[in-house]
Symmetry: C2
DNA sequence: TTGAAAGCGCTAACAT
DNA sequence: ATGTTAGCGCTTTCAA
């Protein structure tokens, strides 16, 4: 049966060439073509070249579904995306996804996005898993109480987490995270070097382990330098408004000369208060944010910000994924990376 | 042969249940189970329930690879992502991807991300296409001279473009776009309503059809209102710096009381100049941006901005995709949606 | 080094 | 309304 069909002026390919088509063209068996693709070492150089020529000429590419069915793998990595939400710093996630896609591609994987909401945190995972639609998952929202890591572990599903298992010290799954404390320490030490001694902290409420971690970096650097911290710390919601209010209170009560914030959002709030009070960021009061978001970069007065090494995170995650899927024993399940400081006019 | 294997204390499922497993359990043939999943109407209610129970109990989900192989479809939509680039307004793309994932999910599709760079614009497409790894593509960067739409058309590959075929008036592929001119007209009329008559335009260089389109909206609204435009338009690069400089020149030479910008980036530049000159956005000078980016929302003085209806775009794209893949004749290949205006303090 | 046979899990077509 | 047969395109045995 012909694989092409006559219509109008020319021949229109009805379906892509298969292994059998290439085999016929090259005058070998199907298996030899398969070997040419997957185990070229097994072929005699002459045969290999002949097959490769046929592959080239016909534009052959192995059918994914057939290969997936046979090898029981999809070369797909699942990544859940939450419903689009406004105003939050998901620009960071954007950067991460980009680098993850690039890095995965180098390892022969594609990234499959699937929808999810917090009402049914594992639904999407469960479905893809049972359908063997993906080989593994990358889990990004590992905040306190998130059941995904535990659930996936229980299902024996391969996955790598971006984020430490804060509330599960006994967890053994591989993870990659950024050392937030090191980041805020970097920021604080940068300000100390600039001569600041009264450096305030604006962070999140106590129930966020990530927030506590970042706070610890500021606290540690201040203690090490022998600077007081009493009355210089504030814990608020992660909104511009809260940041602005916290900054106003701190300025009135504790007269800091610099602010380190747990997020760029809070830092924007600080900048807002400075603007209202006619204080110049960088000259009168220094401000450092966290995440090096779009906003930090594009803001007229560039905002100094702690920058997560997302490219390195993606590389580490893909590496962990590879050893996980290749059943290679990975000695250290956790990788902690150090952020850098993007210094701009605000400090 | 057993599908479970004894190890240690319990039984560990080695592979998910198949159609045959469910059929055996329910005491029917495999085909009946398949029908229960895909054509439930064909079954007698009693049988259907029995099969459904078995499916539920065993946690059965059809194997994707097998189904894909048989049906010659993957239920996957390919979306190319460019390498992570800094500073640009990809926050918009982020919002789009989120809504696209959500909308696709409702239609039974997942989104497959693949890497691509501008050196080889069609490489990634070609590979996925020949491997029949995706059913269709969503093409987003339809700027002038982009060869993807033409190439995909030539390959007879199903795809929907987000963006009009500006430079290919004869193109017949389905596309969805946002009416930029209507957006800037909305912005301009909003300012006119507020009493402004000298409204300046800061846009992109002439080689961008999108930029020219947005400019036309401003121009049309000004003409319709009978306001002069001479000396009030500027064409620059899409950077904060360029926006700031253009605003300074316009303020000096033409004394506008309001600015409409082709992007939030340019609007940020305007705000910077206003800040330097101690002019209050919204009170002294009104500013409107385009894209309703993160920056516009989080900026201390909220930036009024034209907001693209990305949710509607995603819905329209998925709809077009469905009719494309369902071989349903779609009468109108192009869908043009109207943006809205997110009004904030800056106007 | 190459080829033949088998089968992954599913669904379309046909038969009952 | 349900069962039987065949085969999607590939890779993993195994044989030559």
């Amino acid at each position: 049966m012909s694989r092409t069909e006559s219509r109008g002026t020319g021949f229109i390919p009805v379906s892509p060439p298969t292994l059998a088509d290439v085999a016929e063209r090259a005058g070998v068996s199907r298996q030899t073509v398969s070997n040419a693709v997957n185990n070229p070492d097994l072929l005699r150089p002459g045969t290999l070249e002949r097959v490769r020529e046929a592959i080239e000429e016909m534009g052959y590419s192995p059918n994914r579904a057939a290969r997936n069915l046979r090898t029981r793998s999809s070369q797909l990595i699942g990544l859940r995306v939450l419903p689009a939400q406004e105003g939050t710093a998901n620009a960071m996630m954007d950067r991460f996804v980009h680098t993850l896609v690039d890095t995965s591609a180098e390892a022969g994987y594609h990234v499959l996005l699937f929808a999810g909401d917090n009402d049914d945190p594992v639904g999407g995972y469960d479905h893809l898993l049972r359908a063997t639609a993906v080989d593994a998952f990358v889990v990004t929202d590992t905040y306190l109480g998130n059941p995904q890591a535990a659930w996936l572990t229980e299902q024996r599903a391969p996955f790598v987490a971006f984020g430490r298992p804060w509330d599960q010290p006994q967890a053994t799954h591989p993870w990659v995270d950024v050392d937030g404390a090191a980041g805020t320490r970097l920021a604080t030490e940068h300000l100390i070097e600039k001569g600041h001694t009264r450096i305030a902290w604006i962070g999140w409420r106590k129930d966020s382990p990530i927030g506590e971690d970042r706070r610890a970096g500021w606290l540690g650097a201040m203690h090490d330098a022998g600077h007081p911290t009493t009355g210089l710390a504030s814990r608020v919601e992660d909104t511009v408004q809260s940041g602005a209010e916290a900054a106003a209170v701190l300025l009135d009560e504790s007269a800091p000369t610099a602010f380190v914030c747990a997020s760029d959002t809070l830092a924007m709030g600080v900048l807002h208060t400075l603007w209202i009070r006619q204080l110049a960021p960088g000259r009168d009061i220094a401000v450092v944010g966290f995440d090096d978001s779009q906003v930090a970069q594009v803001f007229p007065v560039g905002l100094t910000s702690v920058r997560q090494p997302l490219e390195d995170v993606a590389v580490a995650i893909v590496r962990a994924l590879e050893s996980l899927l290749g059943h290679v024993h990975e000695p250290n399940p956790g990788v902690l990376l150090t952020p850098t400081l993007a210094v701009r006019e605000s400090s």
